[in-house]
Symmetry: C2
Subunit: 209 residues, 2 copies
DNA sequence: CCTGTGCAGTAACAAAAGTTACATAGGGTA
DNA sequence: TACCCTATGTAACTTTTGTTACTGCACAGG
């Protein structure tokens, strides 16, 4: 675990903090598709993402769903921080986009470190800031863009986190994450294909530019 | 200033911290309609709202605008915190909804206090959490609700922060804050009036239930 | 009292998104 | 090969939202 943790966090934390993390953290592997956090769940540990990608979703009362953002190596979920520190239920759902590993830190430790390590404070604040700014871009997408533009942003984001220009999702899955219907997605994808921006295949979409 | 500050913050900060705040903060009055923060502006001081209401808006590249949330007594703007700590430009605009007063704290102090006072840390984190959860409800509104429901939520929120069931806004102003057009708002307001939920007058809207 | 200006009401139409229904195609399996 | 299941394509229609254009009304200032 030493090496993984160091690789992901040694540039931001001082050695003493890394040592402390090592001594209290428990590693947890996860697989693509795992539901890591459900809405309404209490969070008792703070997760540090060591590798892999996690997607964060918001859910409606009825059954709509919306992708908020992705977490990558070196990230932590500010929503989870919020839950830990505020001792409230999770407002979001977290699902593994790929296989990966997290280190779980007990809440008491993470509070202790806030007073003790400046690098930890900086890390926690920059996580919050990153999340706020991702929420803002989610809001921009929803408030100011039409579905075709949102879809294209989605495809690009997806390609980026998976480091591949081929997106392995069905139209139905995309529709869920953008909170719309399959027919709408098929329609808009076809239009994007006609514009030469993507290439459609069964179960996959290739981003051409 | 002593009394105002104490009234707003004495329940959450210890006396020593209040003293420190008093010694370094500069008070600033503002009037309804004042543009307190513009997008792209750097923030060098952290504002603590002592009384009054401030509205926080997000703006589009082109010229669309969207109300994100209101700040009230005892609040601070986490977006501003983000700017201070991250030393980045403001991503939002802040406009005074009513007259009021803020205490401005130099950034160096607020960082110092993070290590020194637990109550300050708690305050800062709970501000972040509050903001994240307001952003989430903004997202819920945009993603899962139709315009009529968003409008009603808007009216209720507005009535709440102004402590009055009479909302003094033109249809045009409401349209700006919901990022839609005046005609759409007029149409939906009329529908709400027909349902007996509101009463329309020139320049004001009365919320009946 | 007249008039200009800004606000609100409304019709008519356009565009975007959502819905229903059905056709077809790919790929695995009996 | 025949069959089935799932994914995708598409037409036809509805609802919601956005746009343009015009009307009438209230109020302030001359």
């Amino acid at each position: 675990m030493n090496e993984l943790l160091k690789e992901a966090y040694s540039t931001i934390f001082e050695p003493k903090l890394i040592e402390e993390i090592e001594s209290v953290a428990t590693l947890m592997d996860f697989n693509e598709g795992d539901h890591l956090i459900e809405i309404g769940q209490y969070i008792r540990q703070m997760p540090l993402l060591i590798n892999g990608v996690i997607k964060i979703l918001r859910e409606d009362r009825t059954e709509g769903e919306l992708l908020l953002y992705f977490l990558e190596k070196g990230d932590t979920c500010a929503m989870t921080l919020a839950c830990c520190l505020g001792d409230t239920k999770s407002e979001i759902r977290a699902i593994a986009e790929t296989n990966g590993t997290v280190a779980m830190i007990p809440i008491t430790k993470m509070e202790e470190w806030l007073g003790k390590y400046k690098s930890w404070r900086n890390f926690v604040f920059s996580s919050y800031n990153k999340r706020l700014s991702e929420m803002l871009s989610a809001i921009d997408n929803l408030a100011f863009m039409k579905m075709d533009e949102r879809l294209l942003n989605y495809l690009r984001e997806k390609a980026k986190v998976n480091r591949s220009s081929v997106i392995a999702n069905t139209h139905q899955e995309i529709a869920y994450e953008l909170n719309t219907s399959r027919v709408v997605i098929s329609r808009l994808l076809k239009a994007l294909e006609n514009e030469g921006i993507i290439k459609l295949n069964r179960n996959t979409i290739e981003l051409l530019k």
